[in-house]
Amino acid sequence: METFSLVTSESFEQVMKFYMPMVYRIAFTRVGNVSDAEDITQDVFFKYFRANEIFNNEEHRKAWLIRCTINCANTLVTSAWNRHKASEEALEGIGTTDALDRLEQQTAVADAVMKLPEKYRTVIHLFYFEDLSITQISKITGIRESTVKSQLSRARDMLKPMLKEVGF
């Protein structure tokens, strides 16, 4: 993964360039929706700018951004508007978004991950894609390590049959 020095990170735009894909991926993994993921990403960086936090190192900054992303996604997922929208989609039989449809066609792995329940998707993504350790995930998400482990284990158990179906 590309390294990022503290010297160059002083520019807000550079921080956005570097971390925006990560924030977007986490948001997308969480909400499974492009437009919502974009909104969350914008919110996160807007909050980042307004907070004007001083970070000890890049890990600290990254952890702050991931935490903020998860919280923003949770807020959106649990909002009344989102619940209303989700119920409408369920009634109409539209279980997935356009992006998800595209994922289904292109890669079975990403598709399988997106089919997991929300809380498992985030943990799987942080562990396998962002390469965070269980301890780091625990600290960032505020979940106990044992819970993270059990969520990972359950997510793997859920993924196995789905991946078997597609020949893995």
Partner: protein
Amino acid sequence: MDFREEYKKSEKLISPTDEQLQKMMSAVMSRIESGEEDTKELNITPAKKAFPYKKIAFIGGSVAACAAITIAAVNIAPTLNNVPTAERAGSLSASADDARQNTALTTNAATTYSADADKLDAESATEFDTSADSLEDCAEETAPESFVMPLVPESSKSNGYSANDNLTDNSLSAKDCFTAECEAAEVFETLEISESEVDEVILTEEPDVDNATDSTKEPIDDAHKNPETGADPDLIAAWSQAVEDSPLVCIEDFDCSFEKPLTKLEFTSADSENDTLIIGDKTYKLTNHEEEDEWSFTWFSMSNEEIAALPYEYFTTGHFNEFQHIYKIFFAEDRCFVVYLLGDAASFANPQGEYVLVG
């Protein structure tokens, strides 16, 4: 298959395109330039869990329920020893059966009640005679002459609780005598014949101040006892005098309102020879002769005159038989306060010797 590698291959699918990135960056910058206020608080810390009121209430309720059951059991257990004898229970159940038979319509509660009342009156009158006779017999047979008012005869020392257990025995035990005495006092109240007689006694007897103050050690002479009511005129007179002379009459700082008195009472220890009774910020010395027993305290919502007019048995038998070891009676404002010894009557050796009057 390495899941991590496979999953990372899908990076392009879940990552934003350059167009999306530019769009989002410009949107963020425009929001910043427009001076948009972030009204929401920074939501970077997880929401704290709500205080578990329900869990605490559940645990607290369970503990309170257990405590209530325990306290109830502790309070009920001693009273079981004072349950009327088998004879008494049998007669009551028999009267209840008679009443049921006599009243064809059991749904008529008023009729049933009056029938029960008639039956019980008749039973009580009969039992009064019986118990009075048995009491006299008991006093003659078992109590030493030196005992003036043998509420618990000397024989109860040796018999102890075994007297309770031997209810089927035909011999008259100390417990039977005591129970008979309790019943007699109940009948006094039921038949309402004691008050007038006691009033007469009070009017005829001169109050003895010396007796009232110095009767802490001396047993009361049985010869003065009213043969019909069992009330000791000297004692009653002493109480009457105590109402006027007691140094404890004025407890200025003691709140006698119904809710508070007991909360202000403290005994420094239950086993010391010189216990102290603390009422509010005042301390009173008590002499506890029964080291293993516990002093307790109660009070009556009666006027001094009403209390003074009551016979000694009113406190020592019947409904108030738990006060048989009255340690001290004193009056404050319009209340009568009684300090007494808790415990089963049969376990006490010599109540007379420990009896202390006000002053």
